[in-house]
Amino acid sequence: MSKKKHKAAHAEEPELTRRALFRTGVGIVGACYVGPIAYPVYRYLATPAKQSAALAAIKEVSIPQEQMPALGTALRFAFGTRPAILIHMEDGSFVCFDAVCTHLGCTVEFQPEEKRIHCACHGGTYDMATGKNVAGPPPKPLNQYKVEVANGQITVTRA
């Protein structure tokens, strides 16, 4: 019995190494195929992401005079791919914020009566002059843009 077992174990030895070689071979050939298939598929699926990344990369948005919000009101506009909010303060100055709530990404709204920026999703509230998170769940202030007014045209740039 033990003799037989010994013999069997002996016979299995070259079989095992051959199997290991075969497995490695299959693995290498498989990897050679996976790359050339996965790469075009990734690039194919990623094309719009690449286009929107190019759009998101813009640094400056100009707002023509006719779109300038009246005193005490705000203008919603797109800064690249993100919503932004331009507030014309009562003192005549302008402030501009990224309109994406820092809590869970909803778009915030300027509420002139309450003089605040509010997020309807979870009740986050921001100070309209500074964008500071003042109530509710938002962990951080709104991202602020730099506003310049020259020759009646407003230019908003990344701060």
């Binding site: 195929y33 050339p36 075009p40 598929v41 690039r43 194919y44 699926l45 990623a46 094309t47 690449k50």
Partner: protein, 367 residues
């Protein structure tokens, strides 16, 4: 010792495989696949064509889903295919792979059908395998026809118009069917939307169900052996285990098919013609895809012999009769006891194959 492996309490294997095996019974599946035998003989090569067809169908599923990411049916169809072909990175390759593998799949299914026919694998008890296979071929052709319209370029527009003339000749119901298929009097954006629903939902569901049935029958009855092999005494017949021997060869065939597909799709990318224009005349030399060429040629020839609608109707009747006879062959050549009928069936198959090839060549010669 002494106990059969299934009765013995198994020591769980280490690692991920062992973990999965304990829960999913992978070893049982492997044992089953190892015990399953596939006949091995001079004609074994033809056994791979069903698998090749299946592989190409899987390629269709994957590339089709990828195309769905950008394709927009309806009025924007052409523009979206233009974007896929020229604007989206590697879109041309995905689309080319879809078109090429569609053509290769039709070819593989035809090879599979004729090899099954000549090996007489339609005989008892495999009649339903034969019929479900024919239905799968039919669905494959409808897949081809409906998919051809979707880019909505010149060629696809006229090919669909001409193709829909065939159901038009069905007495009484023809015009109703065609109006329903087109969604109006003309091939238009509405037609694309319908063909799209057919192509990406209805046909795949029907195909997958039938394919499941077909594969279950193959598993149930096993591979048929050709008559030459049947004559041999039992002890002279050879077979190989399904796993790993046949499976490895099957996978090798898939790999070869994938290489052929990759070469064709990348070196001969599928083109896109001018957008379809219902007012423009049909382009010179317009012709159907190769797998519809023989039918097209029959219609043309019968139209010449019997001018007017009679010719067309006769052509369609002739073709339909051929298909009916073809599908009824298991009732004629039932088993291996009637040599005369077996010979007749073989001659019928040879005539059908030669006829299809000659008509196709003739069709291309007349373009």
């Amino acid at each position: 010792m002494g106990k059969s492996p299934s009765l013995a309490r198994k020591e769980p294997q280490p690692g991920l495989y062992g973990w999965l095996d304990e829960r999913l019974g992978l070893d049982e599946l492997l044992d089953f696949a190892r015990a399953k035998e596939v006949p091995h003989h001079g004609q074994s090569f033809w056994y791979y064509w069903g698998g090749i067809s299946l592989f190409l169908f899987l390629v269709q599923l994957v590339t089709g889903i990828l195309l769905l990411v950008y394709y927009r049916p309806g009025a924007e169809a052409y523009e979206s295919v233009r974007q896929i072909t020229y604007d989206i990175e590697f879109g041309w390759l995905i689309r080319s792979a879809h078109s090429w593998s569609a053509n290769l799949m039709v070819l593989a299914v035809f090879v599979h059908m004729f090899s099954v026919f000549f090996m007489k694998a339609y005989r008892k008890p495999r009649e339903f395998g034969w019929w479900s296979g024919l239905a799968l071929l039919g669905l494959t052709m409808v897949f081809g026809f409906s998919g051809y319209l979707l880019p909505f370029d010149e060629l696809s527009y006229f090919a669909t118009k001409v193709g829909l003339e065939i159901p038009q000749t069905i007495p009484g119901l023809g015009p109703v069917i065609v109006t329903l298929l087109q969604g109006g009097e003309q091939v238009s954006a509405v037609t694309i939307q319908r063909f799209f629903a057919l192509h990406v939902v209805v046909l795949p569901l029907a195909f997958l169900a039938l394919l499941g049935f077909h594969l279950w029958l193959v598993q149930k009855h096993g591979n048929a052996v050709p008559p030459s092999e049947e004559l041999k005494p039992e002890e002279k017949r050879r077979s190989i285990p399904f796993f790993p021997n046949f499976f490895a060869k099957d996978m090798a065939m898939w790999l070869i098919t994938m290489n052929v597909l990759a070469i064709l799709a990348s070196l001969y990318p599928w083109g896109l013609g001018a957008p379809a224009d219902p007012i423009a005349p049909a382009p010179e030399g317009i012709h159907p895809e190769w797998y519809f060429m023989s039918q097209f040629q029959i219609l043309k020839v019968f139209g010449r012999w019997f001018p007017g609608m009679t010719g067309e109707v006769l052509g369609i009747l002739f073709f339909t009769a051929g298909i009916v006879l073809w599908s009824l062959i298991p009732f004629y050549d039932k088993d291996n006891t009637n040599a005369r009928r077996a010979r007749h069936a073989s001659w019928f198959g040879l005539a059908a194959l030669t006829g299809l090839i000659l008509l196709t060549i003739w069709g291309y010669a007349e373009i």
